[in-house]
Symmetry: C2
Subunit: 330 residues, 2 copies
DNA sequence: CTGTTAGCGCGTTCAC
DNA sequence: GTGAACGCGCTAACAG
């Protein structure tokens, strides 16, 4: 920076002002400074800048598992959004372990991130971590709520997703449904609740008790292999808690030579890459990751500008994507 | 840090030495310092440390598209590997555009990353960027080679993958193969070449000219719909350039009510999540992402320790994962 | 082994 | 509008 200042015949402070745009500088002089720094290939050292300004222009992103498509897409959306605002992403992934999550998150803190968005990997065991870091930096939780007061939460409105799907099914004359969701305190219960309410309100008919289980694809396959399909007592649509389970269901039905959606419709949840490559492609609830990312960044921006303010809880409405598994040729 | 020094009755330098472990300190004193800093909840400011040491403990990772499963898994593997070494990941994704890639990478440079691993998004148009950044920091390219001398390259040995797959097929009596790959200067040609050589050497029979095309799933579906299967002139295995194409092939064959692998086997390439959820599950070439990540990190470590040294080109051998689409029940 | 001091490269007070 | 000097928090070099 000294070199640039000398070559441009100005002081080092002027160079700083031109390059950071922190204060007005005479246009001709500014132009000259820019030329010289271009010429010398000079770039300011953001480390020094950050140290001085107490702001780094970096945001920490912590996800349970970076290799999972859902989180990968979220990171992508966040990264894109942050890039636009001139920020850089410091990424960490918990590898499914609260211990690693904690260590990673603290490391990001040590690097003085301006904000942190985290998908807590365990609703219970991540709680202390979120409480701690939220005392140092603005934190926004995504998806999972660990229940620390004063911390933002951005999630999708799971209940709305279920209602949307049931409405679609009702519209195409499928009211004899079976719900299959993965167990877990997280999103499953909200969906279950919404489903039960819909059944009580008569917007769908719960042919059987909802199936709770685990095992991803295997769960769906298993259910599909034993469910009674068609007729007065049978099911005409299997509503799955995520796309992977739905894939399993498709597989199980195929093994029985049942047609989808001819004999029975199948629906998923997430729409993060699996649904469109399934065969038949899956009608599914689309998780609005771009909107989630935008909302998270908006909250960080807000905190930066307005300081504190009360925490918010935003449940964003998902949309539904209709594909072959409910209205297809079969 | 001053506070800690005072409370522990030592100098600020001693605190630094204890916490960074840069020099031996008397054990009792060290213990006391650690206690005090724990007590005060003190954590050293890595920004200041980095500024002083000219090393940040961060590594930049640039991928074409963070939402793509292949790159997501790579980032995951890298992140894991780097976490172990105590490093943090600064992530950027190019969103498919060389311009954004360039801007992102330069930003990472401005943040003084210790090293950079990049999957160049365009073999031609990313060249200048790689040349530029490699003058400032140790760069390791992954997958795509932009052809700048002196820059490491870690990739998978595509030819070996094809040979492995053809050997497996031959072993189960499938020699009448058809190759279907996506066009592109990148990996496709290496596979094509390996295939042709195998055909000439009589290790497989190319029933027809290899199909080059684009469109992912649609490409595979289209080929499957028109290919002649079985008999003296037909195909008994479709070898696809990636799992998505293979998925399309499965779909196309299903539409014709042909059994996989009964009537014809299908194989993929990548094994990053799609192959195991396909139905039937896909026999595929496994891209060794963990090994690639480990190799990349090893190179960075090497550069850190040994300084320069000549650049390396490592083509890692893939493995083959046998699933239902070649040896299944059908 | 420990303390003192200088300075990493900037942004920001102040005076002018 | 511009320049000089201080300090962000830490580590490296030296002296003790």
């Amino acid at each position: 920076m000294r070199d640039v200042a000398e070559r441009a015949g100005v002081s080092i402070a002027t160079v700083s002002r031109v390059l950071s745009g922190s204060r007005p500088v005479r246009p001709d002089i500014a132009e000259r400074v820019r030329e010289v720094s271009e010429e010398l290939g000079y770039r300011r050292n953001l480390l020094a800048s950050s140290l001085r300004r107490q702001r780094t222009g970096t945001v920490g992103v912590v996800v349970p598992n970076a290799g999972d498509l859902r989180h990968a897409r979220l990171v992508q959306a966040l990264s894109q959004e942050l890039h636009q605002r001139g920020d850089t992403v410091l990424m960490a992934h918990a590898q499914g372990s609260p211990e690693i999550e904690e260590e990673s998150a603290l490391r990001l803190l040590d690097r003085s991130v301006d904000g942190l968005v985290i998908v807590p990997c365990d609703v219970l065991r991540s709680r202390g971590l979120v409480a701690t870091i939220s005392r140092h930096v603005h934190v926004v939780q995504v998806e999972n709520d660990v229940g620390v007061s004063g911390v933002d939460l951005i999630a999708v409105d799971e209940g709305a997703g279920v209602r949307l799907m049931l409405a679609h099914l009702a519209e195409i004359g499928r009211r004899r449904t079976l719900l299959v969701v993965e167990e877990g305190p997280e999103a499953g219960s909200a969906r279950l609740e919404a489903y039960r309410q819909a059944a009580e309100a008569g917007r769908t008919t719960a042919v059987d008790e909802p199936v709770l289980g685990s095992g991803g694809m295997a769960l769906g396959r298993e259910v599909a292999e034993r469910v009674t399909v068609g007729g007065d007592r049978g099911v005409d649509a299997i509503v799955c808690g995520d796309d992977l389970v739905a894939l399993g269901a498709l597989d199980g039905l195929r093994a029985r030579s049942l047609a989808v959606p001819g004999d029975v419709a199948v629906t998923g949840f997430d729409d993060v890459g699996l649904a469109e490559v399934a065969s038949p492609s899956l009608t599914t609830v689309h998780r609005p990751l771009a909107e989630i990312a935008a909302a998270a960044v908006e909250r960080l921006e807000h905190a930066r500008a307005a300081g504190g303010g009360p925490a918010v809880v935003w449940r964003l409405p998902p949309t539904i994507v209709v594909r072959e598994s409910t209205v297809g040729p079969d």
